[in-house]
């Protein structure tokens, strides 16, 4: 009987999430592209870029606090990190637990001097930059995730209000 209880408790055991490495989003900046008012720039600065983390730009277009469009950034590689950036897409899951979106992705190098990663959505160009930059508000450096995208990729024509935030996710332990 004791053996049975032990076996059942082992079967029902859920491993806890590894929350040790927090990516520490330090800042999110949002403004229109100085060259084109129809394009939006969203930049997130982080203390570190973690290949085990999925970063997500969230766009809420109806002010209900739930993301309506997302752009996901993942990192892979060891010696030379590479970023994979998705085009803006409607998420299947929202909130604190999500899945990778089924959307086109483009890979590009992560580097201080890397060229922006260029994606295309409905024929319009989206640029992304992932890499180390000088801290825009103080001395030192920070990792940056930057998106430069047309408003039409995230907003319907008659809408102008947007709530934007950046979140970081870790793969759930199995």
């Amino acid at each position: 009987m004791t053996l049975l209880v032990l076996l059942l408790s082992l079967l029902s055991f859920q491993p806890s999430l590894a929350l040790a490495s927090s990516p520490q989003i330090t800042d999110v900046l949002v403004f229109t592209n100085p060259e084109d008012e129809q394009r939006l720039i969203v930049a997130a600065t982080l203390t570190t870029l973690d290949p085990a983390t999925l970063y997500q730009f969230n766009f809420d277009t109806n002010r209900d606090g739930i993301e309506d469009r997302v752009v996901q950034v993942t990192l892979h590689g060891d010696a030379q990190l590479e970023a994979s950036v998705s085009v803006p897409s409607i998420p299947e899951r929202t909130g604190t637990t999500i899945q990778a979106v089924k959307a086109d992705r483009v890979n590009g190098a992560v580097s201080t001097h890397a060229s922006p990663i260029v994606l295309s959505e409905r024929g319009k160009s989206i640029r992304a930059f992932v890499g180390l930059r000088k801290n825009p508000r103080a001395d030192g450096t920070l990792q940056a995730l930057v998106l430069d995208l047309p408003l039409s990729a995230i907003l319907a024509e008659h809408k102008s209000d947007l709530d934007i935030w950046v979140s970081a996710y870790q793969q759930e332990s199995r």
């Binding site: 060259e35 909130g95 930059f129 935030w165 970081a168």
Partner: protein, 67 residues
């Protein structure tokens, strides 16, 4: 009876497509570690650049913002 084997074949193909989709789609669940505060913007209005930010250093492919 004329279309029996066509119907069976179509059903088998449908089952195979469903199974292939089930096993190829990434169903990994990600749990949130951190979330920044939300920034609200009205894109119909001209957005001000952050005054204390030297954006040229963050966005290497953009020109320096005009004062």
């Amino acid at each position: 009876m004329k279309y029996f084997w066509w119907t069976i074949s179509a059903f088998v193909v449908l089952v195979l497509i469903t199974l292939a989709h089930r096993f190829t789609v990434d169903k990994t669940i990600y749990t949130q570690l951190e979330r920044s505060p939300a920034q609200h913007i009205d894109t119909a209005k001209r957005l001000e650049l952050p005054k204390d930010a030297n954006l040229e250093t963050v966005f290497p492919y953009l020109p320096a913002p005009q004062p």
